[in-house]
Symmetry: C2
């Protein structure tokens, strides 16, 4: 037996998220089918660092699995890409120390949330961005973002649906980057931290966008954070704007 | 009766092109259905300046139609957008001089062809770009492009399937613009002219990309042009990279 590590990219539009579920198509299921094909029938259960929701994308998802296959890692990569559909792609495959585990050995993640703001709506971005028709005040959003960086109890930005021991997390960086793409104004909200609660990035985004729309002052997100009350913050931004960019892991 | 002019944007991914055909979904059909809905049953046949192929997109398609409806143009715009699907959008609606015709009164068009070049493939661009795995030599392509500007017989860049009286056209501008989008190298080939033959933009693109790959010198596209022989040029680039950007029309 050996452990293999993959870096995976996918367009989440067609999938009910990463995690296997009965009667729906998930990225995990498609990857498991591909692994069975390239190993000639071995049943392999891949584990991913981030359990992305339906419609959420990844450019750098970290995946691990154990296998009896003797295929060299680069052959694994090419063979998987040859059988995977167009919207899932292996960026890299490598042998990992035996027992490496994509959830347990993750020490940090970076996400991007893409907002297209102003009119008209960019048709080509509709599967990859949240369209907000108002032009956003990005300086106010960046000022607000600074109030969320650091080690805090982020329970005010967690949606129900998960059971975690602690809701304390460290956000290393949170930046609002204006981008001009195909004649439309996009905003990339990039966040890195040691871990994220359920819907935390989408809830932070909804709250920052409320500031960008002028509905709340830049001090408000830090007040929501301090309150510990999810009901006080902004909406949960829709899934299609979210991309898992990168996962940092512990080298053993 | 009056004549109305629309500027239309659409994502062509889901459509068998603009033109109505039996048993397939086309943009013209969907727009005709929407016009029937907002006028309370009037049968209106919209005409478009460019008969885009299956999978080709538009940001500025010009459409005209005549109607008995008395709806003000801005109400037409909002009402159509309320019933059209997510991938078709009216940018503008305006009253036009009676008898204005989107094909007859067109005097020029501008297209963009989007190539994503180099590795890895940008998953999110796959419906909006042609992926060429090699990194392209853009300077050589730009030099080659200069040899195609002007008034020429472009029959070497026309695919069979249309019956036109003349294959002489004027290309006003043809530029290769490098773009960096989401960490990937994109190339926008933008071309404007007084008219385009069937598949002309996609054939010019395939020929320029051959130069960018180093398979032919920069002088080659002008030689293909002079030969008048379609068989000598590059491949027809795939449809999903093509976008109709803008149509110029005669003001009466």
């Amino acid at each position: 037996m050996r452990t293999v590590r993959l870096i995976l990219a996918y367009d989440g539009s067609a999938y009910a998220g990463w995690q296997m579920q009965a009667n729906t198509l998930t990225v995990q299921q498609v990857l498991e089918d591909a692994l069975r094909q390239v190993t000639g029938g071995e049943v392999i259960r891949p584990v991913a660092s981030s359990r992305t929701d339906a419609g959420v994308h990844a450019l750098g998802q970290l995946v691990s699995f154990t296998t009896q296959s003797k295929l060299p890692a680069d052959v694994f990569c090419r063979a998987l890409n040859a059988v995977l559909p167009d919207d899932i792609s292996i960026i890299e495959a490598a042998d990992a120390p035996f027992g490496f585990h994509a959830i347990r050995d993750t020490i940090g993640k970076r996400y991007r949330y893409v907002v297209q703001h102003g009119k008209p709506r960019d048709l080509f971005a509709r599967a990859y961005a949240w369209h907000v028709p108002q032009t956003l005040a990005i300086d106010a959003m960046q000022e607000a973002a600074r109030g969320l960086v650091g080690t805090h109890d982020f329970c005010a930005f967690e949606n129900q649906g998960s059971e975690r021991e602690s809701t304390v997390r460290t956000v290393h960086e949170l930046v609002c980057l204006p981008r001009r793409i195909n004649g439309a104004d996009h905003l990339h909200i990039e966040i890195s931290g040691n871990g994220f609660l359920y819907n935390m990035v989408r809830n932070i985004t909804g709250t920052l966008v409320s500031v960008g729309r002028g509905k709340h002052p830049p001090e408000w997100p830090a007040q929501v954070l301090a309150s510990g009350d999810r009901r006080l913050g902004g909406m949960t931004a829709p899934p299609q704007g979210l991309v898992l960019l990168h996962v940092d892991y512990r080298e053993q």
